[in-house]
């Protein structure tokens, strides 16, 4: 028997993926594709078959008995590779639009998978732009972005899909100014609805997405005063995941924001170190302007960060925490440096700072390695992100 190339093998799957085919054959073919998409070479193979990709997309949005779930999961794996975005979008330019429809459909059972594909796609600028455009095509009465935020913030929006991956989708979208403008619209109530999600217990994906979104929003220093003020009151929601069951004195307690007072003895801190780091970075952004610094200081951030620092096990998070504490307890900078986001850094200084950064990172990695090779049972090596 002549040796068939993997390409030819893959091409053979195509007819079975067509819509209208027998459901059991479709299912088997879809599973095969899903298996292929699990490996690097398999993905490259699939990427070369435009017709196959097209059929896969059709299946992913098709109603039962089509194997929509497996098709969607295959797309998730394909979209995880940024190099494959181009062939994916070439095969089906309307991919973002169609998946968006599924993700935001309250009755679609595989909405979570659709959202996961979008989360992977939107990491790259071209698909992100395509997605933004898809959202901008307004339906009467409610913009796509508004619907996305509503789907994310309303518990039970979709009875069969938790939609955690809408968090990272929003986070990626918030890299674009238009999205931030919508989130930070003072005439609406948008960013406020995201705040409680920083404490969402059941999904670090959702939490991470929301915190990422908030961090991106905080690059808009013109909005800092509003964000820190009573209409949004963002700071307590950033500090709460960083706070533990601290027993402060009555006097210290009264200085904290209301949401951080009298926390119960079983209060847990945010378990994911990356999210902790993002939270600290977000607060750091809010201290860029002098009025912002004052507000963050006045609302008792130092107390929470002090306790966090003595508890924090991860070296790089601890360093980030230290830097923020330095800003809070340090002297006010000289004239011309009031807004740290707008300062022009001279080249020489920039080089020195980068060198310092590099050294710190090396130090952290060394400490990390020491932690992993330390005495006692070997911990499982953490998977690289």
């Amino acid at each position: 028997m002549a040796e068939t190339s993997p390409k030819a093998e893959a091409a053979k799957l195509l007819p079975f993926l067509a819509l209208g085919e027998r459901a059991d054959l479709q299912a088997a073919a879809a599973q095969h594709v899903l298996a292929l998409s699990g490996s690097g070479p398999g993905r490259t193979l699939l990427a070369g078959q435009a017709a196959l990709l097209q059929a896969l997309v059709e299946l992913a949005v098709a109603p039962p008995p089509a194997p929509a779930r497996d098709a969607a999961r295959a797309l998730v794996n394909l979209a995880a590779d940024p190099g494959l975005h181009k062939p994916l979008l070439a095969a089906e330019p309307r991919l973002p639009v169609r998946l968006l429809g599924c993700a935001l459909d309250p009755h679609w059972p595989w909405a979570e998978e659709a959202a996961a594909v979008l989360a992977n796609l939107s990491r790259e600028p071209v698909p992100c732009a395509a997605l933004t455009e898809a959202l901008a095509a307004t339906e009467p009465g409610e913009s796509g972005l508004e619907r996305l935020v509503r789907a994310l913030c309303t518990p039970g929006y979709n009875a069969r899909a938790p939609l955690h991956y809408l968090g990272p989708v929003l986070s990626n979208l918030s890299q674009r100014p238009a999205t931030r403008a919508f989130l930070l619209d003072r005439n609406r109530c948008v960013v406020q609805r995201l705040l409680t999600l920083t404490q969402y217990p059941d999904s670090s994906v959702r939490r991470g997405g929301v915190v990422g979104t908030l961090r991106n929003c905080c690059f808009e220093h013109r909005h800092h005063e509003w964000l820190l003020g009573p209409e949004v009151d963002i700071l307590p929601f950033l500090l709460l995941p960083l706070a533990g069951p601290e027993d402060f004195s009555e006097e210290e307690m009264e200085r904290l924001p209301i949401d951080l007072q009298y926390l119960p003895p079983d209060k847990q801190r945010e378990p994911d170190a990356d999210i902790r780091k993002m939270l600290i970075e977000t607060i750091m952004l809010l201290t860029a302007t002098a009025p912002g610094r004052k507000q963050v200081r006045d609302q008792g951030a130092y107390l929470i960060l002090r306790e966090l620092h003595s508890w924090e096990p991860e070296p790089d998070v601890r360093v980030t925490c230290e830097k923020l504490i330095q800003v809070l307890i340090g002297d006010e900078p000289e004239r011309g440096l009031e807004n740290l986001l707008e300062v022009q850094v001279p080249e020489e200084i920039e080089r020195q700072l980068q060198q310092q950064d590099h050294q710190e990172r090396e130090q952290c990695e060394r400490e990390q390695q020491e932690l992993e090779l330390g005495p006692g049972p070997q911990a499982e090596k953490a998977a690289s992100t």
Partner: protein
């Protein structure tokens, strides 16, 4: 005007009417002295309508009213009229009357759902200003049944929930309203207010919980301290025997610890873990008493007596109650026997005596002057033990 023949013209009738006054004076004019009052009574020139219309006083007005509220008009027209009437009362801040008008309008059960929704919403507003937030909420919910997207009803409902301290519901209603109009300022403000109040309420609950826990821990520590010292406690109720379930007793103790005794003093512990008791001294000779609010368990009776009787008290008629003369006793009520306490003992030593039972967490002692006649009398016939 008189009924005219079909043939004659209007002018003819007018001419003859006017000509009458060439010869006769007009009788229907105002009286010079009270023309202003009479002017006010003509419906067209009224500045304020009377709240009740008396047909005898104001026949014209009563007549007009009966035209407006004519039962023969359609239910929709009648309902609309009641709505307008209610709105007028509302503008005058007469909310009670407004409610009545709107209710009458709703009673017509007209078939226009918009009109009914408005009647409910307006009545809800009037109820709100009367402080009847539950009734207002009911009306708003009825309005929304007819017109789910009626924004005024949603705003009113959110306000009611806010007043009723249902902060979560208030925020939910605001979010529903904002889905209809995302920039409605009243809803944005209400939502922010309700959210802040909710978070404050949550803080207050946490604070109270922590306080309660602290108190319980303190009481538990006190109970342990008492147990560790082997001090016997007795319940208030007579006939309760000391072997009753220790659980029941500790409950009683905890209750006693949480409330203060009638004199406002209670058992406390200091930083070194030493107890201080409220102690009652009774002077049976003169039916007097003294309360030492914090008798440290390691301090001696004589130390307190020196202070309490530094000057002889006013009731000490014979001026004989001096620290050196005093004898201290405690009573074993069960066996009806007395025990004499050496003043140099500490409180703890006495409390640990196997026959000492602390009642109501307040140790009690009897004091009299040893050599006095009263004392001899008092002790006669009673068995007295000497405590070492």
């Amino acid at each position: 005007m008189e009924q005219q023949d079909p043939g004659t013209t209007f002018d003819d009738g007018m001419d003859s009417f006017v000509e009458k006054f060439q010869s006769q004076p007009y009788r229907g004019g105002f009286h010079e002295s009270q023309w202003e009052e009479e002017f006010e009574k003509i419906p067209l020139f009224m500045k304020n309508s009377p709240s009740e219309i008396d047909p005898l006083e104001n026949p014209d007005l009563a007549c007009l009213q009966s035209i407006i509220f004519d039962e023969e008009r359609s239910p929709e027209d009648q309902a609309r009229t009641y709505k307008d009437e209610g709105n007028d009362y509302f503008k005058e801040k007469d909310y009670k009357k407004a409610v009545i008008s709107y209710t009458e309008g709703l009673k017509k059960k007209c078939t226009d759902p918009d009109l009914n929704a408005i009647l409910y919403t307006n009545r809800a507003a009037a109820q709100y200003y009367l402080g009847n937030f539950r009734s207002s909420l009911n009306d708003v919910m009825a309005a929304r049944k007819l017109r789910p997207c009626h924004l005024k009803a949603i705003i009113r409902g959110a306000s009611c929930h806010l007043e009723l301290k249902n902060y979560v519901e208030a925020v939910n209603w605001c979010d529903e309203g904002l889905q209809i109009d995302a920039t409605e300022k009243k809803l944005l403000d209400l939502r922010a207010k309700a959210d802040k109040l909710k978070r404050t309420e949550q803080r207050d609950i946490r604070k109270a919980k922590l306080k309660e826990k602290k108190k319980q821990d303190q009481n538990e520590a006190l109970l342990q301290a008492i147990k560790a010292r082997n001090i016997r406690l007795v319940a208030e109720a007579a006939g309760e025997d000391e072997d009753s379930a220790s659980e029941g007793l500790s409950e009683l103790v905890l209750y006693g610890l949480s409330s203060e005794n009638p004199c406002g003093a209670r058992l406390s512990v200091d930083d070194q873990g030493r107890l201080s008791w409220p102690v009652l001294f009774l002077y049976p000779e003169y039916a007097q008493s003294d309360l030492v609010s914090a008798f440290h368990e390691d301090s001696r009776f004589i130390d307190h007596l020196m202070v309490m009787f530094g000057e002889t008290p006013s009731w000490d008629l014979e001026q004989k109650y001096c620290p050196d003369n005093l004898e201290v006793y405690f009573e074993d009520e069960d066996r009806e026997e007395l025990y004499c306490v050496p003043p140099s003992s500490t409180l703890l030593q006495v409390l640990q005596h196997p026959r000492y039972f602390v009642k109501a967490l307040t140790p009690t002692f009897l004091v009299c002057v040893g050599s006095s006649g009263f004392c001899r009398n008092y002790l006669r016939g009673k068995k007295v033990h000497q405590v070492k």
